[in-house]
């Protein structure tokens, strides 16, 4: 990218307010007319530990983290453990500065809190020498001192904002406006004074860096700064979901929290329960009783949902479940992203999978696809799953506010009325045929539903194989008819999904090479594709969202049109490439993989490099990724 790009990284310890301040700062940049995108890096720890958030701001679209960053605001970790040379964790107080230097671009700016980070320790980092080598511009400011002088120590982040603004020649009014929305009276006054003092002190420096606030104009229409979790929760609410049950687990907790905070005012119910087995089972119970319901979790919690998920498949109880991936196996790295739960989500639970699985690639797709999940779940009486990851759940991006101007949908799908029940097919013994082989008038394979309390609609839902009235049956002919009917729904669903067009294409149609990805790093892949094409390569990409039923025709057409295709994903065993080969049964010699599983999301330059090494048959220059060649290579 050009120098018309600010990537501002605020670093400190958990509990230092990194998250809130970066959100306010991103919003201020957005209101100024820039496109923003954030990247969060944090440990599984309440207080202290190496944490940072990056805010990338550009005039013309930000859909990914960038390559490294160019502005560091190092606050110091106020919850650092006692520094000791022998401790394996090293000097935590210094880490917000020391741990972030490797990614800082040449010519970058460093601001650190000299009130917390000891100057002598800084000297040990050889900062001066490294700054000279890399043309870094270092500005130590006693942020803690400023904060204490006008208010409280916690306000030092805002002193850093003031310093940032001065160094970037940025107007502080947007940020101050946000402070005014947040605070009032003395607290507001103190915060504003802290910002101004930081601003003034930074102006004292002799400034010789080349980074400034990118060009910006008043936004054409109001923007909304949203995370993937916001978009999923809002999509669910607009889809008419009024019941959620869950158990806390990072990173799914965000959606659960947003839903729990908003459901009361939306007339719905949220239940925090004893475990994830219960959570999924509650969602089924509410859905069985006629309410649009959801649950969700992350890897380990989702594993507990396997059995209720299978029950939903067998009993044809509509439900939406979401899985927010983090690095595994087992507890893995709880706060780091990975895409290694794909096979888990596709196949977990006994028997043949009968489910819909969608993977949104950005915030707008999160909103749209959770709505699609509800629509399909309730129209087809099938579990619909949304799989996303720690990256997408927490990263913020600006979206046209008008995007959310959409109609809510309270339609419970294929439930019929008491009048219709009275006319509906009955078993010879007088029971409603809830699982009729060949119901007419509805979607293919879908038999109308009744819900408890409706007169004449009683039936038995069961995880056992069952006859048309729901009673347990092991009759071979019935078994085949019911299995075929349930599985057949996926074919109609595939047709509906084709109309929705969930796959996202990028780059020239006639390109020679392809890149495939799924889920959250779609924006990063697309940015890499643009750069590759600018550099003379001929590349296009497809971001696949429909994972089950798989978009066979669309992906086949894409792969037929290219010479070779690199499949980019955040796991170690190329699960999506495996799925593609399984579903399509060919293209093995065309597909190679670029894999990353070190806990950090791809940067665009890494994909560029991975692509170039793949077509040139060279080894990857960096060790944080893995290249797996095509079959036969």
């Amino acid at each position: 990218m050009t120098d018309q790009e600010l990537i501002w990284r605020i670093a400190g310890g958990s509990g230092d307010g990194i998250d809130s301040n970066s959100r306010y700062f991103a919003k201020a940049l957005m209101r100024s007319g820039l496109d923003v995108f954030t990247h969060r890096h944090y440990p599984s720890r309440i207080r202290g530990g190496h944490t940072y958030v990056e805010v990338r701001a550009t005039p013309d679209g930000a859909a990914s983290r960038g390559d490294g960053y160019n502005f560091l605001l190092a606050l110091g970790d106020s919850f650092a453990r006692n520094p000791s040379e022998d401790a394996y964790y090293g000097n935590e107080e210094l880490k917000p500065l020391s741990e972030n230097l490797d990614d800082l671009r040449e010519g970058g700016i460093i601001v650190y809190d000299s009130g917390l980070i000891d100057e002598e320790q800084v000297a040990e980092l050889n900062l001066e020498e490294r700054a000279e080598e890399n043309d870094w511009h270092v500005y130590p400011v006693d942020l803690r001192g400023i904060a204490k002088e006008h208010g409280r120590e916690i306000m030092r982040n805002n002193a850093g904002i003031g310093v940032t603004a001065a160094l970037l020649d940025m107007d502080t009014s947007e940020y101050e406006g946000i402070m005014e929305e947040m605070w009032s009276d003395d607290i507001l006054e103190a915060n504003l004074a802290v910002i101004q003092d930081g601003y003034e002190q930074a102006q004292e420096f002799e400034q010789n860096h080349d980074i400034s606030m990118p060009d910006h104009e008043e936004p054409e229409e109001p923007q909304a700064l949203v995370s993937g979790s916001d978009a999923i929760a809002y999509g669910a609410l607009d889809a008419g979901c009024r019941f959620i049950a869950g158990y806390p687990m990072t990173p799914w907790t965000d959606v659960f929290t947003i839903m729990s905070q908003n459901l009361p005012q939306f007339g719905g119910i949220s239940e925090q329960v004893e475990d994830e087995i219960a959570a999924a089972a509650l969602a089924l119970g509410a859905s069985h009783t006629g309410v649009k319901s959801m649950s969700g979790s992350s890897g380990g919690g989702f594993a507990l949902m396997s059995e209720p998920l299978g029950l939903a498949e067998m009993s044809e109880t509509p439900v939406v479940l979401i899985e927010a991936m983090r690095a595994g196996p087992s507890t893995g790295m709880p706060t780091k992203p990975e895409q290694a739960d794909l096979e888990h989500v596709l196949y977990t639970s006994q028997g043949d999978s009968t489910r819909v699985v969608l993977a949104p690639g950005d915030q707008q797709e999160c909103y749209e696809q959770i709505r699609t999940a509800f629509e399909l779940a309730y129209d087809y009486q099938i579990p619909a799953l949304l799989i996303y990851d720690q990256k997408l759940q927490g990263e913020l991006r600006n979206v046209d506010a008008s995007f959310f101007d959409q109609e809510p949908d309270g339609d419970p799908g294929s439930v019929i009325t008491e009048e219709e029940i009275a006319e509906a097919a009955e078993h010879h013994a007088g029971k409603f045929k809830r699982f009729q082989y060949d119901a007419e008038g509805g979607k293919e394979g879908v038999s109308p539903r009744s819900v408890p309390g409706q007169k004449g609609g009683r039936f038995l839902a069961t995880g056992n194989e069952h006859n048309e009235a729901g009673h347990i049956s092991e009759d071979p002919d019935n078994r085949v008819l019911q299995m075929n009917r349930r599985l057949g729904k996926l074919e109609s669903i595939r047709e509906e999904l084709d109309e929705k067009g969930n796959q996202t294409h990028h780059g020239p149609d006639e390109a020679e090479y392809g890149i495939m990805c799924w889920g959250s790093h779609q924006g990063t892949v697309f940015e890499a594709v643009d750069r590759l094409n600018d550099d003379g390569h001929s590349v296009k990409a497809i971001g696949v969202s429909d994972l089950m039923p798989y978009p066979e025709e669309e992906v086949s057409a894409f792969l037929e049109s290219v010479e070779e295709c690199l499949v980019v994903e955040m796991n170690a065993t190329a699960q999506f490439r495996g799925l593609t080969q399984k579903e399509l049964g060919r293209f093995g010699p065309k597909l190679s993989s670029l894999l990353k599983y070190n806990g950090n999301p791809f940067e665009p330059a890494e994909i560029v490099e991975g692509f170039e090494s793949s077509i040139e048959g060279e080894e990857l220059a960096v060790s944080n990724m893995k290249y797996v060649p095509a079959a036969g290579d």
Binding site: N262, I269, A278, H288, V291, F404, P408, T417, P452, Q454
Partner: protein, 312 residues
């Protein structure tokens, strides 16, 4: 107007209405205690004038789970140990539905023990019947959570080294607001207790002793039994938690000494149900949530109007 006209209708009901046309004859073994649960439940529901279309019976897995096939109502035959979370969500979704959950002692006190504890704690307005035969029957006779210490089975050939679960005490400690024990050999008491439990506004737990004549031949047939409310030997106040706790301990201990004590052991008169508690916090709508989906005039909140502003 409600979309659920079966709910709350004043009516005369007949026991036969609760016998399904498809499977009127249960397949339990001759002499099985499970027949008694089915009969008592039918009797209680008809006595209360319930419509089979307003009742939701949720079961787990095992012989007890087959109750769903032999009792006519809306049913959800769930998975092993999970009848309670399904059932309690149904009650939250539509409080008008009469929700009953049932399962075996392995289902409720073993694999589903966590759900039992938490459903009792939350005090959902529902009835939970545990078929307690002190054995895993359908899987052919393994030691269960309520099997007595020393119980020999194919999986514990030298005899169980474990103390059995104390289901009544566990229920009380967890927070159930109605706790009773009845037995298959006592059909009238069973029907009365089930009717009381259904009428109780809170979590009503019934430990139902159901002899297994096939896999637990050594076990008592739960005769003779004593109804503690009818006996002069026992005097305690069922509304007093402390007295109830002592009584339960004695009842549980005596079962393993060969004395079968049944009756009502605890009833909290004033404790609000979970639905009431949750409505009081403002986190549950006053009207049944399910109704809204079937009301063509229902208005649905929009994120665009209520939530997007704070992101701009």
């Amino acid at each position: 107007m409600s979309a659920f006209s079966a709910i709350g209708e004043q009516r005369e009901a007949d026991e036969d209405e609760f016998t399904p046309g498809i499977e009127p004859q249960p397949t339990w073994c001759p002499g099985c205690g499970d027949f008694a649960v089915n009969n008592a439940l039918k009797k209680a529901m008809s006595k209360l004038g319930k419509n089979p279309d307003e009742v939701l019976l949720c079961t787990g897995i095992g012989c007890s789970g087959k109750l769903n096939s032999y009792f006519e109502s809306y049913g959800f035959h769930t998975i092993h140990g999970r009848s309670l979370p399904v059932a309690r969500a149904a009650k939250l979704a539509n409080p008008g539905v009469e929700v009953v959950a049932a399962g075996g002692d392995g289902d409720g006190y073993g694999i589903g023990g966590n759900h039992f504890m938490h459903t009792a704690r939350e005090n959902h307005d529902m009835t939970y019947i545990v078929f307690n035969n002190e054995i895993f029957g359908l899987t052919k006779g393994q030691t269960s959570p309520t099997s007595p210490k020393g119980h020999k089975s194919k999986t514990q050939p030298s005899g169980s080294a474990k103390q059995p679960v104390r289901p009544l005490s566990l229920s009380l400690a967890s927070g159930a607001s109605y706790v009773a024990r009845t037995a298959a050999v006592n059909p009238n008491q069973a029907a009365e207790i089930i009717a009381e439990a259904v009428e109780h506004d809170g979590f009503a737990h019934i430990d139902f002793l159901t002899q297994c004549p096939t896999w637990n031949k050594d076990a008592r047939q739960y005769v003779p039994y004593t109804d503690v409310q009818d006996s002069d030997d026992y005097d305690f106040d069922v509304t007093n938690r402390e007295e109830a706790g002592k009584m339960m301990y004695e009842v549980e201990s005596k079962l393993y000494e060969g004395e079968v004590l049944t009756g009502r052991f605890y009833k909290a008169e004033d404790r609000p149900s979970y639905g009431e508690e949750k409505r009081a916090t403002g986190e549950m709508p006053e009207e049944p949530l399910a109704e809204r989906y079937y009301d063509e005039d229902a208005e649905w909140e929009r994120c665009a109007e209520q939530l997007i502003q704070k992101h701009t």
